[in-house]
């Protein structure tokens, strides 16, 4: 693959292969030196038009562990705030010699535009475009689920067939949800979407508005809580934080009714006490911290893959 723009572009073999490679990268991260020479001499640019310390740092660590040179571009205070377009920003940076663009942007489709409109011919990794997709997040989520459900060290070649995943929250505006839904289906999982009717997108299967009823009926293996943005209250998507938390928050009571081995996940950053109770986030069922570590392994695997495939496509 020349770019990683959307999890819809990954078939089952591609996805499992990438996850297996991520497991190997995790091995490198856990052992001694945490350094591979694979991207030595290559320049990776973090093209971040939206604020994001977590994802940006994760990509930075990943690039550096592969010995790449990393440039951080952030929109604030740059020529973009003076009105320079995405096209011109990308071309200016590419002129200096760039081997991979990692882009985060507030406009859905921005990553695809950068990859395919002919502005540059650099491989592109989508680090989150508007409310559209966040493919590396879905990959690290799938990696985490494999570990938890098949066991560390026993994940190679495995998919998520038959695994029941409940995603709860503002699905309509969530790029994490969109990428996850596609990838999980590709890996054979059964995905359920739960939230207030105003935040569920149209045209998706398995949607539910009653969290308690849904959890009882589905008995999920994995519950993924999404961050709720309080600004949605202003556009009347739900009346108050209190009401949201009461009906769709993962409280201790709801958590107690889930199976003993349920895996609790959250892409972060969390609103403790709003969509997820503190105790639940810190419980032994929670894989939230592991998700962050896996993010680095996944991003190393993605960068490794893009650079190793690039030459083949050009040849």
């Amino acid at each position: 693959m020349m770019h990683l723009l959307s999890t819809a572009d990954l078939n089952k073999d591609d996805a499992i292969s990438l996850l297996d490679l991520s497991d190997e990268m995790a091995g490198v991260n856990e052992r001694g030196l945490r350094k591979l020479p694979s991207l030595r001499g290559k320049t990776v640019v973090n093209l971040f038009f939206e604020d994001s310390t977590r994802t940006r740092v994760s990509f930075e660590i990943a690039a550096k562990r592969l010995s790449a040179d990393l440039i951080n571009f952030s929109a604030k205070g740059s020529s973009v705030s003076k009105g320079e377009s995405l096209k011109d920003t990308a071309q200016t940076l590419a002129a200096g010699g760039v081997d991979v663009f990692v882009i985060r942007h507030s406009a859905s489709g921005a990553a695809l535009s950068l990859a395919e409109r002919g502005w540059t011919d650099v491989p592109v990794v989508n680090a989150g475009d508007g409310t559209h997709e966040h493919p590396t997040q879905a990959l690290l989520d799938a990696m985490t689920m494999r570990e938890r459900l098949h066991g560390l060290g026993a994940t190679r070649g495995k998919d998520l067939s038959g695994v029941k995943v409940a995603i709860v929250g503002d699905i309509a505006h969530s790029r994490v949800a969109r990428s996850n839904i596609q990838l999980l289906k590709t890996l054979g999982a059964e995905v359920h979407l739960i939230g207030p009717a105003t935040l569920l997108p149209s045209g998706f299967d398995n949607t539910h508005t009653d969290l308690d009823e849904a959890l009882t009926k589905i008995k999920p293996d994995v519950v993924m809580m999404l961050r709720i943005q309080l600004e949605r209250m202003q556009s009347a998507f739900f009346p108050s934080a209190g009401e949201y938390s009461r009906f769709w928050g993962l409280t201790e009571e709801r958590f107690a009714r889930l199976s003993d081995d349920v895996v609790i996940m959250h892409p972060g950053p969390m609103n403790r006490g709003l969509e997820i109770a503190s105790l639940v986030a810190d419980s032994r069922n929670s894989a939230i911290v592991r998700q962050v570590a896996n993010g680095i392994s996944v991003r190393m695997a993605v960068l490794y893959n893009l650079v190793s495939q690039e030459r083949q496509i050009n040849e």
Partner: protein
């Protein structure tokens, strides 16, 4: 002025005749006519020159996209002899001075008659009526008023405006879009927008305004025109309104007759338009409505934009598509080649009806002796691969690469060939 004969042209009613033009008027219709020049029109369909009730010429203020001259040229290539220019220029056409300026620019260009449309509200801000009477009394003689680009969403203002212009048989052309339901909207609200993560523009935002306005028209017994109808639901409301004797007319654009929202999957902003491309169901309903008369006219909503406004990510791109030069082909596809209707209906929706709605007296006339020679001759047998670049200054052309039927061979503006043998004349009529 010269005299010439268009020989063996086929009229909308399928009669094959010679049309003799002398001094800009149709002098004779018959067979075997002679003149200084006899032009063979065998196989060509002769139609009254098209009238576009909805065009954006961008001048004054946005000359990087289009000027009255280049827009007029593009219109002529498309078979038009008259266009109505929308008011969202800079400055806005909300007073006599600006409309007269645009009218004069059109005359100087000399390719089509440019009839400016006046804004309904000052500066298009939706709070105060513009100088509707003065614009009507000016040399531009404005009769159609529209805030197009924006909706006249205040019901009181809409009511007052409709009442006010009724006095001189004017009409308000509404851009139906409830602003509160479409804040930040990027494309049709539906499964595709949900998948692409683009904010949706729901059909009900158009339908609710139309429903309100037809009831206002009924209560006032006033005329109403609805711009760029785009949904099946809107068609139903218009159908009901007409059945009630409400004096409403409606237009549809060529792109809403042909293109659907799945084209947005490429995130190519050439498909970004307001109102947005909708679903197959909507396209089907609009086509049926154009055939059965629920929709009265085809209007292009030709909306040119410079490349930097479209060569970017979707959310940053401007709304709009060019359309003057492919309108006739789309109309031919939907009305004639489909077998659902005929050339007479095409002449009605592209020329007679828009002229009637706007009160144009020199365009949209029947092809009969004594009428001005505003004509277009189409070769219906040609199939064109549409090029991106047209005579417009802008290239935001969603039809690029598509194959469409028919091509305009000649356009005659008051007896003057603005287009001859598929080529644009180098100068306008003077």
């Amino acid at each position: 002025m010269s005299d010439f004969v268009l020989a063996k042209a086929t009229l909308p009613d399928d009669r094959v005749v010679d049309i003799k033009v002398v001094d800009g008027l149709i002098a004779e219709i018959g067979n075997g006519l002679s003149a200084t020049e006899v032009i063979d029109c065998t196989g060509l369909r002769a139609l009254p020159g098209f009238v576009d009730l909805h065009t954006h010429l961008r001048e004054p203020g946005f000359e990087q996209s289009e000027t009255v001259l280049t827009g007029s040229q593009s219109a002529a290539v498309g078979g038009y002899t008259a266009v109505h220019a929308m008011a969202n220029t800079q400055p806005v056409a909300d007073n006599a001075a600006v409309v007269e300026q645009v009218f004069t620019l059109g005359q100087k260009a000399g390719y089509v008659d440019v009839f400016p449309i006046g804004a309904v509200t000052k500066n298009l801000d939706g709070t105060q009526l513009a100088e509707l009477g003065s614009m009507h009394a000016s040399s531009a003689a404005v009769k159609v008023f529209s805030d197009d680009g924006k909706c006249v969403s205040d019901p009181l203002l809409m009511r007052r405006a409709m009442q006010y212009v009724a006095a001189f048989d004017g009409v308000i052309a509404q851009h139906a879009q409830e602003p509160r339901l479409t804040e930040g909207a990027q494309m049709n609200a539906g499964e595709i927008s949900a998948k692409l993560g683009l904010a949706g523009w729901p059909a009900v935002a158009e339908e609710s305004i139309i429903a309100r306005d037809v009831l206002l028209a009924k209560s006032l017994d006033a005329r109403l025109h609805i711009c760029h109808l785009s949904t099946a639901g809107s068609v139903e409301i218009i159908r009901w309104a007409k059945s009630q004797g409400i004096k409403v007319t409606a237009e549809v654009t060529p792109h809403h007759l042909l293109l659907t929202d799945d084209l947005a999957e490429s995130y190519d902003p050439v498909y970004k338009v307001n109102p947005p491309l909708r679903t197959k169901v909507d396209v089907q309903a609009l086509r049926e409505a154009l055939v059965d008369g629920t929709i009265d006219i085809v209007a292009t909503d030709h909306a040119p934009h410079p490349s930097e406004a479209k060569d970017c990510e979707w959310a940053a791109a401007a709304f709009g598509m060019v359309g003057l030069e492919s309108a006739a082909s789309v109309a031919q596809l939907v009305l004639v080649d489909s077998g659902k209707s005929n050339w007479a209906r095409l002449a009605e929706v592209m020329s007679h009806a828009p002229a009637r709605i706007a009160g144009d007296e020199t365009h949209g006339r029947e092809i009969t002796v004594g009428e001005p020679a505003n004509l277009t001759l189409i070769d219906p047998s040609v199939s064109r691969a549409i090029e991106k670049q047209t005579s417009s200054k802008s290239q935001n052309n969603p039809y690029a690469g598509l194959h469409l039927p028919g091509a305009v061979k000649h356009t005659i503006f008051g007896g003057y060939f603005t287009v001859r043998d598929f080529e644009l004349a180098e100068q306008g009529r003077h």
